[in-house]
Amino acid sequence: MANVRLKNLTKTFGSVVAVDNVSLDIPDGKVTVLLGPSGCGKTTLLLMLAGIYQPTHGEVYFDDVMVNGIPPKLRNVGLVFQSYALYPHMTVFDNIAFPLRLQKVPKDEIRDRVHAITKVVQISDLLKRKPGQMSGGQQQRVALARALVKNPDLLLLDEPLSNLDARLRIETRVEIKRIQQEFGITTVLVTHDQVEAVTMADNVAVLKKGVLQQYSPPEELLLKPDNIFVASFMGDPPMNLLDTELVVRDDRAFFKCGSELEIPVPPEAREAVLSRTGKGLVIGIRPENMSLKEEEGDYAIRGKVFMVELLGRDKLVDFRFGEVALRVLVPADLPVNTGEELWIHPHQSRIHLFDKENSETIPIAV
């Protein structure tokens, strides 16, 4: 097993910067997820860990050993591709045995190890098949077995669930987590799917255009996003993010969004935000961090329901204040009708504030 450390890692292709000065500590035995929209450099980063791409600048360390320039075959990593990349002309057994054969492992041992690993990923009955004769989920297990059979120090998974249907995805998610814990193997997983990231990760690194945005445990991404990008990328339905500025009237402070919406500033936060008066700010409130009531409250906002959208277990209630929209998530059984006027109660401790200029979070002491 291994700690992996990335130091100022940069990769350029011509004039395109795919990965831009990323530094990360990937802890031993944990699952670290590289998360971001497509084209954010997460797969490039993964391929640099595997040794397929060489970094343009910066270093990669495995347990304090600099591995720049060390070819993939000497890194002892297992890699599962998004396409699985199973050799189509080989049977499942030969696919899994391939890395061992190249290591010149004795035949008996190859057989034992292949059988052992196929038992773990539950494909023992498919050994004689060829990849073309299997479903996506089965191919995925074969790819996982091929990566694990050589007891790698580091397991790299590139979008392992994106080619599976929804139900299989949930099963496989649990399965990969189980196998990872059984082996206690350091794992780096690349995904664009935030649910996948949050459910599987011990730590998540959010990337945008090759730049690291935030590196933290998954809960923190939701509770304490470092900047507007992370705030908007994480969470479903997405966070309400409104351009705002601070106004003080009658000794009360408000976040004024557009011409018709004023969100009262909670007293605990006043101290922190008053210095920002007149500056460009962005206020963020997640739809699930507000509730709807008939009654007024100290910091509630009166709004008229513009539209109601049923999302299964929940309902998304859309309020309009002039050109500004505010969406609130409520349980599906709460009776809400279009055109109705209600009080919106933001949960005071869940209000996020960002500097519009550099998009970074402004801590509000609550």
Binding site: A50, K73, S83, Y84, L102
Partner: protein, 306 residues
């Protein structure tokens, strides 16, 4: 539309192609077949002599020599150049394309394609100059530079010469097919193999070659058949000599008919030889069809599902 009219339409649409096939392929074919049962010579009279041309073929001591020449020429050119060397250029240029971009790779491939574009006579004359037995030849000029005596390449190594000259042209066919097949292999297979511990030789052996199996087999079969019937470069370079050493079956038939080297105008015997070659080609095709299981390639698409 009635059924009858439907059939008529089909016939009408096929007619132009049928007409061309009939006039330029089937009729000459039948005439050739008929001619092989005559002893037609420069007087061009149809004088039927039964199977005597075929009997003569089995008694022809030169033909057995020609047969082995043909085998040596076809498989020598095929295995050394058309497949192996074509594959080497394809591998090298695809590696260059991956490392240094498409342009330098294209340059080298275009270079190997040049002989294809050169008119056969020009190409032959260039080789005649390269292999000239005097000091004016390119190779002997180089030898002379190092103080060596000139070598009469063509008369000393006739078979090697015709294999080399045909191979340099033939390699480009395989090169084009193999190159496109190699570059269409998903990069991820090679990456997966690299992570699995394969060096470049292992990757060629276990990833590239199995994945371009069909183009490999196709080039082998196709080029066998085209080499069996090709003789133009041999005709230009050696004329089949010295003393039948480079006479292959198709050239033997040509020489029997149109003289050239041995001026005989034995049209009857020449056509019998040609039909013999057709039978050899059919046997070769059937063997390839069976051994390489071409039916698989023909019947289902071989695009690998990823």
């Amino acid at each position: 539309m009635t059924k009858k009219r439907g059939h008529f339409m089909i016939f009408l649409l096929l007619a132009p192609a049928l007409l061309i096939t009939l006039t330029f392929y089937l009729v000459p074919g039948i005439l050739t077949g008929a001619m092989s049962f005559t002893n037609m010579d420069h007087r061009l009279t149809w004088n039927f002599v039964g199977f005597s041309n075929y009997v003569a073929m089995f008694k022809d001591t030169i033909l057995s020599r020609v047969f082995w020449n043909t085998i040596l020429y076809v498989f020598g050119t095929l295995l050394l150049f058309n497949v192996t060397f074509g594959l080497l250029i394809a591998l090298a240029t695809s590696y260059i394309a991956e490392r240094h971009g498409e342009k330098p790779s294209l340059f080298f491939r275009a270079l190997w394609l040049l002989p294809r574009f050169t008119p056969p006579i020009v190409y032959g004359v260039i080789w005649l100059w390269i292999l000239d037995p005097t000091r004016n030849g390119l190779l002997n000029g180089v030898l002379n530079w190092f103080g060596q005596k000139p070598v009469s390449w063509i008369s000393e190594f006739p078979m090697a010469v015709i294999v080399l000259t045909n191979g340099v042209i033939g390699a480009s066919f395989g090169m084009i097919l193999f190159y496109s097949a190699i570059t269409s292999i998903s990069r991820e297979y090679n990456w997966a193999a690299a992570v699995d511990g394969a060096g470049w030789l292992h990757r060629i052996r276990y990833v590239t070659l199995p994945l371009i199996r069909w183009p490999l087999l196709f080039v082998t079969a196709y080029q066998t058949l085209s080499l069996l019937t090709s003789y133009e470069y041999i005709l230009i370079l050696t004329g089949g000599g010295p003393f039948y050493k480079t006479t292959v079956w198709s050239l033997y038939a040509y020489n029997e008919a149109f003289g050239g080297y041995y001026a005989s105008y034995r049209f009857g015997y020449a056509t019998a030889l040609t039909l013999g070659l057709v039978i050899v080609s059919i046997i070769a095709s059937v063997i390839y069809w069976r051994v390489f299981r071409f039916r698989e390639m023909m019947s289902e698409p071989k695009i690998e599902v990823i």
